[in-house]
Symmetry: C2
Subunit: 151 residues, 2 copies
DNA sequence: TTAACAATCCGTAGTCACTACAGAGTCAAG
DNA sequence: CTTGACTCTGTAGTGACTACGGATTGTTAA
């Protein structure tokens, strides 16, 4: 099948498929005389694997590790379990962070129950205070408030 | 104060302060004869505001909007409330997504209770199946599993 | 005074996982 | 033969920084 069909059956944008090939996640397929990529079912399987992992918010580096295990069927899969456990810990930590955030935002929102002039807005006033000293600024592995839903 | 001191009192990396200036969030300060930036207390206040907003996972664009209100004290702050409400909705949505994710990951983890050879690993096997069709791949405003904690 | 060292300057490139072009080539149907 | 859909490569943009290189400036100790 050509790249468009692979895109359709796996629900992956064409550009993303080419990107995965450049990144070495998906093997370069054979080409037609006209230089079009021709994929086998094995490619579709591997791409489904990658997309399934991505839908679970794994990074491409994590997926690379899992693919190595898939390619070495005799290996012990203990490290797969370890990777998954670590990922679960990441996600759980991010949920906790966002819950704290949500609470802070709601409390902030209560500072200005009605619209008034900006000079007396409790929200703007409160934001001018330094944040709680220990407050971390998100920048790790699991995304914060601006990274969740595709446009 | 020089940039290093501002960095210290606000807990912001020096590079980030210069970045905010380039982005127009922080006004360019006066300079010494030797071309070093000299900041006033007003800069520190404004930077605290920005960092407080960032710690609440707002985007720089959202912060730009809030700063415009801060700079127009006569304006009605209704839009501030609206922005905050929308942000709270974003965060709540991301929490729901991550909870679904966490459940999926834990269920996946149960597929391979003990380490064994990769060929029979229930996790690798399950990941090879296409993901649930509706499963979105994170890419919106609030970060996913890899974006939460600064290194 | 001089030497060492810290702090600062600017500009550019890298991060992650794509996404969006531009401009060219290929293929199938009518 | 032409139209239009598809595909190709390569490059640049996204957000919010972070990290570097190489130059300058400032501070302190000998």
């Amino acid at each position: 099948m050509k790249i468009g069909e692979l895109a359709r059956v796996t629900g992956t944008p064409v550009e993303t498929i080419r990107y995965y090939e450049r990144e070495g996640l998906l093997a370069a397929p054979a080409r037609t005389d006209g230089n079009f990529r021709i994929y086998e079912d094995t490619h579709a399987e591997r791409l489904s694997f990658i997309r399934h992992c991505r839908s679970l918010d794994m990074s491409l580096d994590e997926i690379r590790i899992l693919l190595r295990f898939k390619d070495a069927p005799g290996a012990n899969c203990g490290d797969v379990n370890t990777l998954l456990d670590a990922h679960i810990v990441h996600v759980a930590a991010r949920i906790r962070e966002l819950r704290v955030l949500e609470r802070q935002l709601k409390s902030l929102r209560e500072q200005c129950p009605q619209a008034r002039d900006a000079a007396h807005c409790g929200i703007l006033h409160e934001l001018s205070q330094p944040a709680c000293p220990g407050a971390p600024i998100s920048g790790g592995h699991v995304h914060g408030a601006h990274g969740g839903v595709r446009k």
